[in-house]
Amino acid sequence: MANFQSILFDDEIAPAQSVGQPAFFGDLNLDQVVDAITAPKQDYELKPFFYQLPQRLETIFYRHEVMRDLDNEAMMTAIHDFAEQMVIARRYLRLVEKLYDPHHKRGWFLEAALVYCQAVLTLQQRLDAVSFTARGWQAFIEYLREYVASIQFQTLLNEARSVRQSLDEVSYCLTLHNNGTVRVRRHEDESDYSVDVTQTFARFQQGAVKDYRLNLQYSGMNHIEAQILELVVRLFPHPFAELERFCQQHPDFMDERIETFDREVQFYVAYLQFIADMRQKGLPFCYPEMTQQRGDSFVEQGFDLALAYQLLYRSTPTVCNDFFLQGDERVLVVTGPNQGGKTTFARMFGQVHYLARLGCLLPGRRARLFFFDQLFTHFEREEDMRNLRGKLHDDLLRIHEILTQATPNSLIILNEIFASTTLKDALFLSQEIMRRVSELDLQGVWVTFMDELATYNEKTVSMLSTVDADNPAERTFRILRRPADGLAYALSLAEKHRLTYQQIQERIQP
């Protein structure tokens, strides 16, 4: 048998235990992203795939290759059609569990087998026509060919078809009497009486009238139908005997590796479908280079995937931002006016790193990103501001915990921490934390209103949310490498009190 295990992992053993949602998902809005990605595919339970980072750098490249080969219409359609058939086959099997009448159960079991066989055959035909560069796909198609050629599969296929054909030929005539008597016999080439009736009344045709045909959803079988079926079995014993034999001989007909593939490949499909409309709209996506060296990463035109998804059907453009860390640079310190895109920038930084680490296409034109081991975030939340003292204490505990767990290969993203305490305290605490971050040689982003942090040492890079020079009230949402100018703080305070030019204009009606 071909050496195929998984379309998500090459040599790496897929983790048996599924992990929960990482702590930072909420801060980075990755929860929204993953919800949106997996929403159309609830049945596959894909979320764990998005929670679990591969251990090996090699796995990331394995996934890049698979996603690249899948990323075209023909392949997406092939996989989509296959998945759809598999969904139907599984639905039939679940139905069989719930049914009571043995002939009815066997009938649906046969349907499930037929749909499954067709799904596998069609997939093989479609994939045979493609030449793959991805190791994952090469191994899979090899496995698929061997499986289809196997005696086990061929027997399943031929027997299912032959039984189906015998059953197809069964046709009978019922007569229902008002007193409750039901008679069943073989059919005798009766003709359709409704045709006669329609013909007689055709002369009155006056143009379009209402359609009285009801879409009678009669899946399932009531006990009268079951009784009728018993009599039909007596009229036509042979096909039903064949069916029973088939069910006994193929109890678990689905191949385990095919089933696993069906679920795992949806990781790629779901992601590509999720980003399809954004790409259509012109937003850039790329496969990143990966680096294990600190101070050697960049993104061109990165953007917040959650925000871009929200803005998808609006005219508001999604703003892209660049960043890079080189040499000794470790921490991007972002200052500037509120509502200027600072938090969005911090989320973008986190998202591109996480998605790169997951082995996905990421939102950006070009990127080289760090193969981090852990990612930590701490975002200030307004709703937590009831008990300021307790809050500060919790903040410090949390940051302490982060700094204890972090290694030099970890990423940290801090957003407006200590905003609720006095400026003096905040500055003192921030500088202390920055010292420790610096000592650990952590990489990351720190969004703050304290300009002092931007020039803390050679490891910090100052970035500024910017405003339009002609109209200071207009936000550009661009975050640029630029020294902090002190104005941002004053502006952000004015803004906090809703006292900017534009706000006062809005508040005071002419």
Binding site: L176, G180, D192, Y193
Partner: protein, 506 residues
């Protein structure tokens, strides 16, 4: 089976919305009076009268087709009313007995549709009897086709077939359904077979003469079982229920169309009877194609005025053949507006196939009939009023095509005479150049005399006459526009009463 009494090749459908100019037309020509006389209190007749009269036809062939049918109706009023009673009975029966297509299941649909059809078959037999009895009396192509169709489509064999099916579909001997085995061994493609007429077939089978028959009987108290059987039955009769329900709908819709199309002629008949009672003449107008500029007649009168005053009114003669513009000037209350209305009314009636209020009339059809009247009731300021007039004019221009007809009554006078005349002149000129026919009542001397001075042959000048003693005849004569509108007269008459009262006091 098609009624085709309004068009030689299609059914009448009343427009959802009246044409855009209808509102002004109704107001300016007092059409409500006409509709009321046609309807005689019947809302349906009113609705049809409005719908048909307001959707003017420019197709002379269609109009002649209707004129012939109308003549038949005027000649056979009792047959028309008897015919009209058939769809009315259908409607009343359905409402009285709640014979709708009820139920959301095929069996229910089938049962109620059969009862409906049973009722319709009785009425269709009546229709056939009327055709057999009276067809000979009708001359028009429309009625001849209609009666011939009834006799052909509703022949004896047809009735036999229909009643046969309606009886069979009551399924005295059970519902036979052919079924194929589908996915999951569930039945699929339920198909109704022709029911047998006797029970003996089953006995034959039971005796082994034919293929075996197995059976079971649902216990009387097994409600679930009976419901389940009904479900199966529903699948079997789904298609036939649809066929029968649609057949009932088709018959109903045939009868509805019959009612709709006859309603127009019944309205005409009602109106003719009202006018006859007032001893006012009517005639079917002689029609010619659009653009031939025919318009002449005798005894042309305003039927709405006659109906309102319940008295005979003065008719005018008109000879406007070859004219594009008719300018009407003259004495106030000298019959100018009445005359303009009678021209508009005749045109509107002629272009739906009706007779016209005149002893004799001939006209070419036009592509659309529009009125632009000065709105006396308008209380806005002078400039606002003029603005409003121009905006209505602009709308009319949006809707106009060559060979349209526009009736102006004192338009563009809500400003000083020089400006009003100049605007009026430009508008009229533009319309004439676009081959629009114009009737224009005005007291603006500058406007009227301007056209007089040009001496064009395609312009007719009419003047409301007054006698030497200052009294009015309400007759219009050809004549040069005169510089005053005889307002003095009216002033004199109104103030004369005061004067005499004053002198009496003295």
């Amino acid at each position: 089976m098609k009624v085709f009494l309004m068009f030689p090749d299609r059914d009448l459908t009343l427009p959802k919305d009246p044409p855009p100019q209808a509102e002004a037309l109704v107001q300016d020509l007092a059409l409500e009076v006409l509709f009321a006389a046609m309807a005689q209190g019947d809302r349906f007749l009113l609705n049809v009268a409005q719908g048909v009269v307001l959707s003017s036809q420019a197709d002379v062939a269609v109009l002649r087709y209707r004129q012939e049918i109308l003549q038949d109706c005027l000649d056979n009023p009792t047959v028309l009313r008897e015919l009209y009673s058939i769809p009315i009975q259908a409607l009343e029966n359905k409402q009285k007995h709640w014979l709708g297509v009820f139920g959301r299941q095929p069996s229910g649909i089938l049962d109620s549709s059969i009862r409906l059809l049973d009722m319709y078959v009785v009425l269709l037999r009546q229709l056939r009897r009327i055709a057999d009895t009276y067809a000979e009396r009708f001359q028009s192509a429309g009625f001849r086709r209609f009666f011939a169709m009834i006799q052909k489509e509703l022949d004896d064999a047809c009735f036999e077939e229909m009643t046969g099916h309606l009886k069979t579909l009551k399924f005295r001997n059970g519902v036979p359904i052919r079924v194929w085995l589908g996915r999951g061994n569930e039945g699929r493609d339920y198909m109704l077979c022709k029911p047998t007429q006797s029970n003996w077939e089953w006995v034959e089978r039971a005796l082994g003469k034919r293929s075996p028959v197995y059976s079971f009987t649902i216990p009387t108290r097994d409600d679930h079982g009976f419901r389940a059987m009904r479900e199966i039955r529903d699948r079997g009769v789904n298609l036939v229920a649809n066929a029968v329900a649609q057949a009932a709908d088709h018959v109903e819709s045939f009868l509805n169309i019959l009612r709709l199309e006859l309603a127009f002629y019944l309205g005409c008949l009602n109106l003719s009877e009202r006018l006859a009672a007032l001893q006012q003449p009517i005639c079917l107008p002689e029609l010619s194609e659009a653009g031939t500029r025919q318009r002449h007649g005798e005894g042309l009168y305003d039927a709405c005025l006659a109906l309102t005053t319940r008295a005979a009114v003065v008719g005018n003669a008109l000879q406007a053949d070859g004219k594009d513009l008719v300018l009407i000037t003259g004495a106030n209350q000298g019959g100018k507006s009445t005359f303009l209305r009678s021209v508009g009314l005749a045109q509107v009636m002629a272009q739906c196939g009706m007779f016209v209020p005149a002893r004799r009339y001939a006209t070419s059809v036009c592509s659309g009939i529009f009125t632009h009247y000065r709105r006396e009731e308008d209380t806005t300021m002078r400039s606002g009023k003029f603005d409003e007039e121009l905006s209505r004019m602009s709308q009319i221009v949006d809707w106009l095509h060559p060979n349209g007809l526009v009736l102006f009554n004192e338009s563009f006078a809500a400003t000083n005479e020089r400006e009003g005349s100049e605007i009026g002149r430009q508008i009229i000129q533009a319309l004439l150049d676009r081959h629009i026919e114009v009737f224009f009542v005005t007291h603006q001397y500058e406007l009227a005399s301007g056209f007089w001075r040009r001496g064009w042959p395609n312009v007719l000048f009419l003047r409301a006459e007054r006698q030497e003693d200052g009294s009015r005849t309400f007759l219009l004569q050809e004549g040069e526009p005169l510089p005053t509108s005889f307002g003095e007269d009216m002033y004199a008459r109104v103030f004369a009463a005061d004067q005499s009262a004053l002198s009496e006091e003295r």
